[in-house]
């Protein structure tokens, strides 16, 4: 019997998710023993035409990481949806938009202007911008269209499962692949990670006081962080109360606060709103000026609470100022 085929693909991402698969170490040998990797652009040379030539449903599963910003990514997402029996959004970007999703705070035109005109290292006197079609002696060269906003994979195609994290923890990848091979996947739409908040598995849990009360939020570079004590108690903006566990508290163990990459637990529609709700409840003040003074110590609430999930949020993006997102070149 031939081995089941799987694919890995990347869209708007940093490569960290590929790194996470490499982090399986020897475990990756077990994976290739059990499956054929039919598509993995970072490691093997499968062309798009090869994927197009596969009969639909050839891939038992396809793992897609990265957010969706260009027409090429949309095309690949649709193509892989057809070729894969099980489509898995892999990592924060694909799941909720991730770091590339922070671009939804800006308009398309301002991003292009920054990159092609105003960065100190830009040397572009003729104000060239990338064109989707350019005539060259050999014919027409093409580039994908750069869309108005960043979207998640499930805002683009139907997604069966999600593996959260930036990048996904190795343990969750192993569990997901095992469940896939044994045919023991949970109901469609499930997030393949524990459904409890990070605080529940935090190694500093016992040092969390019954009543947290924060008088001032501090940023990690402003304080010497006690490696034993609850980070919220130390005034650090730790999103553990709102964030799904499954990461073995990796950042906490590195003495850094949780930034929320695992996203929310089941039943939460908007991670940022829930994180905001949890954090503001801890503010130790009753009068408006006192509350405002404490809130002033959170430099960028929207960026902090939506660090990994702006495109998946209820508002999706910052309102375009001219109502058209900066237009198309």
């Amino acid at each position: 019997m031939s081995k089941p085929k799987v694919g890995f693909y990347w869209c708007a991402s940093c490569g960290g998710c590929e790194e996470a698969i490499v982090d399986l170490n020897e475990g990756v040998l077990k994976v290739v023993e059990a499956v054929d990797i039919a598509l993995w652009p970072v490691a093997i040379d499968t062309k798009r035409a090869d994927v197009e030539a596969m009969p639909d449903g050839t891939l038992t599963a396809c793992f897609i990481n990265g957010a969706i910003r260009t027409s090429e990514q949309v095309e690949m997402a649709h193509l892989l949806r057809r070729k894969a029996g099980v489509l898995i959004a892999f990592g924060s970007c694909s799941h909720t938009g991730g770091i590339p999703g922070l671009a939804n705070f800006y308009e398309r035109e301002s991003i292009l202007a920054r990159v092609y005109d105003t960065t100190p290292s830009t040397d572009n006197p003729s104000k060239q911008r990338p064109q989707t079609k350019t005539a060259v002696p050999e014919g027409t060269a093409t580039l994908p269209t750069f869309y108005a906003d960043v979207r998640t994979l499930d805002q683009t195609v139907d997604v069966d499962y999600y593996i959260p994290g930036c990048p996904p923890p190795v343990r969750l990848i192993v569990d997901a692949v095992t469940a896939l091979l044994e045919g023991k996947l949970p109901p469609k739409g499930s997030i393949l990670a524990p459904n409890i908040a990070l605080c529940d598995e935090c190694p500093r849990r016992d040092s969390k006081p019954d009543h947290l009360a924060i008088k001032e939020f501090k940023r990690p570079h402003e304080v010497i962080i006690d490696p034993e004590k609850c980070l919220l108690e130390q005034g650090l903006l730790c999103l553990g109360p709102a964030t799904r566990s499954g990461c073995d508290a990796a950042c906490i163990s590195g003495n850094m606060p949780c930034t929320g990459c695992m996203g929310a637990t089941d039943g939460i529609r908007d991670f940022g709103a829930k994180a905001l709700s949890a954090l503001s409840s801890l503010v130790d003040a009753r009068e408006k000026p006192d509350i405002e003074r404490i809130l002033d110590t959170i430099p960028d609430p929207a960026g902090s609470f939506y660090r990994y999930s702006l495109p998946a949020s209820l508002l999706h993006r910052r309102m375009p100022t001219n109502g058209n997102g900066g237009g198309v070149q």
Binding site: S71, V74, E75, H78, F105, E107, R108, T145, Y147, A148, D149, R151, Q155, T156, I268, R269, D270, G272, A273, K274, L276, S277, L279, S280, S281, V283, A285, R286, K288, I291, E292, L295, I298, D300, P301, A302, G303, F305, S313, L314, L315, H316, R317, R318, M319, P320, T321, G323, N324, G325, G326, G327, V328
Partner: protein, 167 residues
């Protein structure tokens, strides 16, 4: 999601306000305004919560997402909360949510908090009238969400086509 025609064109635009009122004070005040036959703008849809402290910020964002032009929160005056602390919690969430909405480019007038006791029917009337006037001036809130914006231009459209069609 379908919107009524006035939302799409801006003609005959009537602001839509979702009002979250607490059971013990502001909702009772709204009742009083009604039984006292006070006239006010018909633009608010009132949702009763047991306490303003029950207001999950998700409710506010979900209201905007589903077509509200403004959200009004009503609770007991500080010190008067039926559950002691709920309105203080609501105030903290409200103040942080205001900051978040500012970063999202949403005008401050679209989210309003009022402390209104059970006897202050006239303040319900004033708050809803004022907010309706503010929102009339601002115009409809057109969120550029994936189901309501053009993938190429980001322009608001009533129902966006599927992404595969947009090249």
């Amino acid at each position: 999601m379908p919107q009524d025609a006035s939302k799409a064109t801006g003609d005959g635009y009537e602001p839509r306000i979702v009002a979250f009122f607490c059971n013990w004070c502001t909702y009772t005040a709204a009742d009083l305004a009604g039984t006292s036959r006070m006239k006010y703008a018909p633009n608010a849809r009132v949702i009763r919560l047991m306490c303003s402290g029950r207001l999950d910020p998700q409710f506010v964002l979900a209201a905007f997402r589903r077509g509200a032009d403004g959200v009004l929160i009503g609770g007991c005056h500080p010190g008067d909360c039926h559950y002691q602390e709920g309105n203080y919690k609501a105030l903290r969430r409200f103040l942080l949510l205001k900051r978040l909405l500012a970063s999202m480019g949403i005008e401050p007038e679209r989210l309003r908090l009022e402390w209104i006791s059970a006897s202050e029917g006239d303040r319900v009337q004033a708050a809803i009238n004022e907010m309706t006037a503010d929102l009339r001036r601002l115009g409809p809130l057109h969120l550029a969400t994936p189901d309501q914006c053009d993938v190429l231009t980001g322009a608001w459209i009533e129902e966006a086509p599927l992404m595969e069609a947009a090249r």
